[in-house]
């Protein structure tokens, strides 16, 4: 397929996926009534479902997927490792440990968010501090520090789960599986998405040059440590925003950039915005599936993305050279 056609198709998937996400839900609303509600008329219950529930949910799912795909693309370029994904940095583990601690002590939702943010920020700062040396950046240190922190947080999460009373375990598990049902206010995530995507876009050319190796990039005038720090910062920020909104939703960040590369998109000038569009659309659709298939029960969207993502990733691995 022509690259320009592909780019337009992926960009078109943004409104298409949002429309599908708004259309589908546990209550069937005929299209005519949806359009009436959309234009501000129709019945008040329809308007309430559309504007109060489905639109924020669809926008939250989109922002979450877009943030994760952006973070995945950036980390794969930064670490020059095709298996890098947003959860490599231990950020989701830190957020989970924070959120579950707050849940255990019975704190309010706002405090849970604050704890999750603190845990995520702690994890990101630790990985950054462990991996950056005066001589430069070392991808292996990033990966090792991320894996070590993830393992530590994993143990902490298990401890919190075993300490928690049975009534709280269900909510905790939903948080861990990745769930958008609590995502009622997508605005902060969209703000972060805008900032991180714009900042990442400004580093597109230097990211391409980093594929030549750090020394070569430096000799061509790239401020390597600055580019790596900005890239890491964007990825960490995007991951934090996504995790605070939807918990640990797996595979979107790993698989989206790979799908685009398999379709021939490699240059970061195009790869970054298309990752945002494709990742957002994928999660908006996955969330629509999660909400509508087993109605009236809400299935955590993390399960749907894993069910799509695991076979997709294995398929990609068989095609990898």
């Amino acid at each position: 397929m022509n690259r320009r056609t592909l780019a337009w198709l992926i960009l078109l998937s943004v409104p298409a996926s949002l429309a599908i996400a708004v259309w589908h839900g546990s209550v069937d609303i005929p299209a005519a009534r949806l359009f009436a509600a959309l234009s501000g008329g129709g019945e008040s219950i329809d308007r309430e479902i559309l504007w109060g529930l489905r639109a924020p949910r669809a926008l939250a799912a989109f922002a979450c997927g877009a943030l994760l795909a952006l973070a995945g693309t950036l980390l794969q370029a930064l670490l020059r490792n095709p298996l890098a994904d947003p959860f490599l940095l231990g950020i989701s583990g830190g957020a989970a440990a924070g959120a579950l601690t707050a849940m255990l002590v019975g704190a309010a939702l706002a405090v849970q968010h604050l704890f999750a943010f603190a845990g995520a920020a702690f994890a990101a700062a630790s990985v950054f501090a462990f991996s950056l040396r005066p001589s430069g950046w070392n991808a292996y240190r990033v990966i090792l520090a991320g894996v070590a922190l993830s393992a530590g947080f994993g143990a902490l999460v298990s401890l919190l789960l075993s300490l928690a009373p049975a009534a709280q375990v269900h909510g905790m598990l939903f948080w861990l599986m990745g769930d958008l049902s609590g995502a009622t206010d997508p605005l902060p995530a969209w703000v972060v998405l805008g900032i991180a995507a714009a900042l990442a876009q400004s580093q597109a050319a230097p990211l391409d040059l980093l594929a030549l190796g750090e020394d070569k990039a430096r000799s061509l005038g790239v401020a390597v440590v600055a580019v790596q720090s900005i890239t890491f910062g964007c990825a960490a920020l995007a991951t934090m925003a996504a995790v605070l909104l939807g918990g640990s939703i797996g595979f979107v960040g790993l698989v989206t950039p790979h799908m685009l590369r398999l379709m021939g998109v490699h240059d970061h000038r195009t790869l970054l915005p298309l990752s945002v569009a494709a990742g957002g659309s994928l999660l908006a659709l996955a969330d629509a599936v999660a909400r509508s298939v087993p109605a009236p029960v809400d299935l955590p969207v993390g399960i749907v993305t894993a069910l799509i993502g695991v076979p997709a990733l294995l398929f990609l691995l068989t095609r990898a050279r």
Partner: protein, 252 residues
């Protein structure tokens, strides 16, 4: 153009270069010779400002190498490294165009004049037929020539090369040496680490010999590439080969 004053380089507590005074001028073509591990690459990386030397000062056009802003330095000084990951996704032409980054600050220039220039450089390194081939699918020797073409696209006033002839067959070794000598003759300063003293004798005008424990000899090529110097440098017996207008030696 490029000067080293009191330059010392040590790697893992081993002194490779001790107290070197070197001046590379415009129009000169230098060869750096030495055994494996003698410090050729370390010297080049230090001269390019990519590694901090253990002592001494490196200046490009009378300005300390570390004081140059990265972009301005990249417009004046380029280096072809010994090892480069072959991760780059684009084709050979895209790869060569990246050499323009220090001046255009974009990796995606569609300027037809620049593309023509890049195509001409691919032609010069005998890769004209491979312009649209993915860089990572090129053979080792083809990739090496693409890297040289990228350095020519960068077109710095001072060009450093670490083993520019690696992976190249004899024909392309000669073509590359001639391309480098042309650039020196055109007013660029060229300094390259080599394992081919005969090629150096043919096309370079100066040489740096890196001996053990940091001892360095340098000067005009004819004075450097003597039988005694080279036997001591490579620690093997050499005999002069006749039938040539320049003095070369072959191992015995």
């Amino acid at each position: 153009m490029l000067t080293a004053r009191g330059l010392s380089i040590a790697v893992a507590d081993r002194t490779l270069v001790g107290d070197l005074e070197l001046e590379v001028r415009r129009g000169e073509c230098w060869a750096v010779l030495g055994r494996n591990g003698s410090g050729k690459s370390s010297l080049l990386l230090a001269l390019a400002g990519l590694r901090r030397p253990s002592a001494g000062r490196i200046e490009l056009q009378e300005r300390a190498i570390g004081d140059w802003p990265r972009m301005e330095l990249a417009q004046r000084l380029g280096i072809v490294l010994q090892d480069e990951p072959a991760d780059y996704w684009g084709n050979a032409l895209d790869y060569v165009m990246l050499g323009r980054y220090p001046r255009s600050r974009t990796a995606y220039s569609e300027d037809p004049v620049l593309r023509e220039q890049a195509l001409a450089l691919l032609e010069e390194v005998d890769l004209a037929a491979h312009g649209t081939q993915a860089y990572r699918t090129l053979s080792g020797g083809e990739r090496q020539r693409a890297r040289l073409a990228q350095a020519f696209m960068q077109d710095p006033e001072c060009l450093l090369l670490d083993e520019p002839l690696q992976h190249l067959d004899l024909k392309h070794q000669l073509a590359v040496m001639q391309a480098l000598a042309r650039r020196a003759a055109g007013g660029r300063a060229v300094l390259m680490a080599l394992h081919e003293p005969a090629m150096a004798a043919r096309l370079c005008d100066h040489a740096v010999l890196l001996y053990d424990s940091g001892r360095v000899l340098h000067g005009r090529i004819a004075e450097m590439l003597t039988q005694d110097n080279l036997q001591l440098l490579y620690q093997c017996r050499l005999e002069p080969a006749s039938q040539s207008d320049i003095q070369v030696f072959i191992p015995r």
